[in-house]
Symmetry: C2
């Protein structure tokens, strides 16, 4: 095996798939979209209409899908042209291709000390120096710390950040921090990888994406996984036009930059104009589940715990007293209460960060199930 | 941009897409499957039935597809178990993931001096030393040369080879060479990446795949692109079980190792049992097109040209007199005869190899069109 792989453990996701397959497990662990809300009929109807050669043959990526992306970006305050949009196999491939495009060995990469595990996975093959900055559930990434590192001489090639529906923290960045990050990227000439997989699912007033403040240095990563269906494996990035052309080279070597059946399915489905209403329904349902989560936490968790108040996305982050280790708790929780969650340490980019925290997903379970799961977790917490 | 990218030119495929979009161009350039033969109805019917949560949600790769792969492998003389099969986004991702899994910077990689461009693309991000060996249209890779390099001290980590329907040479390896390559891999402990994208499309008696002779060191790469449809972006590798587990880590960071809509479509379609008959029909049609290509070459090309006699795959390789440069010819051919082909130099892994050669695809055009295109190319060749 290549040497970088010898340092990679199984991902928490992989382990959780196993834990979840235990019969009777109530899971607040995985970031799955609500199954009841998949637009299954719209997608199946679209897919069932695709017997033409154009939908099956090798050909260039599907241009007809781009106007829909332009509309989605507009809802994020971002103006872009078709030539700045590049389709990927989900947001994960967006990250992975952008890192391959940008990184040389030995360069610095900056990220929050608690961040999405998929970014760590995409970064793993690269021999880079990781710089972490503090973050918290109230206001997200510590921009003062970013600035201090830069003023102190740090020269990251890339800063990875989620401005809305942060996974796992559930935080949305204040507008002012978005502006400052954009300005710092411009001043210090580094790329911000803005992972906006949950950006279409903000419950209140949307703040504009970071890219809306800076279109050269902020590279935007979007996904259809949460607004259509994950199995489509379809995402996009919005980048300067010249980078889009280079991404075609990177993707060509990785898995060929050609139109996928999923691109045709999405294009045919979105052509019916159902997406706006669908996203509104998703927001409403996820907002209700977020509310159910917060009610349950207030009712059942000990007062020594505190948690985030997500304005978007799928996740609530719970801080437990420092002496508790959430990975050990998970084992007891799975055995004694048959409830699964994601231990905070799984998202740690700095050893120790998040060890006494848990990520609870409110996206996948109906409100009554969330209530039940949180009550059982609360019982366990009161007993330890 | 990362430094490896600064050395990567646009691929010949990308350029050809443009050339082919010129109105009225007759193309023998691209390796496209015959459009008339896509099982469009079977795939659309299968896709149209997929509205269930299971087909849309994040979940582990589709196990129900594996028995079909086991059957396809059995037709290649390879016995394998479900745990040795790993699904990829086409054969290209198979190559790309395996190289990421296996290669460390500075290691040696061996390939034929004329080989598939996609392999060069997958290799480009890796800082490796490429060793090339001669090859020819009669018997393929020069195994004596491979052995001489090994005895001389070469220690490649990987040898890339196509045993059947070689792209671009159209050659199939003699049985004895397959055995010898397998034995050398065992003796010298290197991995053979056996790209078998065309292995299901052999016109005569099938020779077994190289992996049938050695299941530790030969890693098999298969694809549904040529037997179902390219837009599914669905392929597989067959590797030792412990490598399959590691591949899951590599794919996780690249684009998440979860079931894709395409996996569900393929599984639903293959469940109807149509694939055996479909492959038989493909073989028969491609055999007829191969015959049409050879008849046309014999009738229209000058006696100074010679060509391969493919027993499988999509391509005929034509050797022209050494003083001709096929890239220059292509420009004249496109302008004067409105016929496109792929210049041999596009497949060169060693500067100069294949410069006076052309790859003609017989897969995509009906026999009468092939005849017309070759006649026009022959007219041009006689004039130069």
């Amino acid at each position: 095996m290549a040497s970088w792989l010898r340092q990679v453990a199984r991902t928490p996701q992989q382990d959780s798939f196993e834990l979840l397959s235990r019969p009777g497990m109530l899971s607040l662990a995985l970031g799955l979209p609500a199954a009841e809300l998949f637009p299954g009929d719209a997608l199946a109807r679209a897919a069932g209409s695709l017997s033409s050669v154009a939908a099956l043959q090798y050909r260039a990526p599907e241009e007809s899908l781009k106007p829909h992306v332009i509309e989605l970006m507009s809802a994020r305050g971002v103006r872009c042209s078709a030539s700045q949009i590049f389709f990927t196999v989900g947001a994960q491939q967006g990250m992975s291709l952008l890192l391959r495009l940008l990184l040389d060995p030995g360069q610095e990469v900056m990220a929050e000390e608690i961040s999405y595990t998929g970014f760590a996975g995409a970064l793993a093959p690269h021999d880079c120096r990781l710089l972490t900055v503090p973050t918290n559930v109230e206001t997200g990434i510590d921009v003062d710390a970013v600035e201090a590192l830069l003023r102190g001489g740090a020269r990251p090639r890339v800063l990875y950040v989620m401005a809305d529906g942060h996974n796992p923290l559930g935080v949305s960045l204040p507008l002012e921090k978005r502006r400052r990050l954009a300005a710092l990227a411009r001043e210090y000439a580094f790329y911000i990888l803005e992972d906006d997989a949950y950006g279409q699912l903000c419950f209140g007033a949307n703040s504009p994406a970071i890219r809306s403040f800076e279109d050269r240095w902020v590279l935007y990563i979007g996904s259809f996984s949460k607004i259509l269906a994950p199995s489509l494996r379809l995402g996009w990035v919005v980048v300067p036009e010249e980078l889009a052309a280079e991404l075609a080279n990177v993707k060509e070597g990785s898995d060929l930059d050609v139109a996928s059946f999923s691109q045709h399915v999405a294009s045919a489905a979105l052509g019916t104009g159902f997406l706006g209403k669908h996203i509104a329904a998703l927001k409403e349902e996820y907002r209700q589940r977020r509310d159910a989560m917060e009610r349950a936490l207030a009712a059942h968790f000990p007062s020594s715990a505190s948690w985030s108040h997500p304005e978007g996305g799928f996740f609530t982050w719970v801080d437990l007293p420092r002496h508790l280790n959430a990975t050990q708790l998970l084992r007891r929780s799975a055995d004694e209460e048959r409830v699964a969650f994601m231990p905070g340490g799984a998202f740690s980019m700095r050893p120790g960060a998040g060890d006494s925290c848990m990520r609870l997903s409110f996206s996948y379970c109906a409100p009554a199930v969330i209530e039940d799961g949180v009550a059982r977790l609360g019982r366990l917490l009161r007993s330890v």
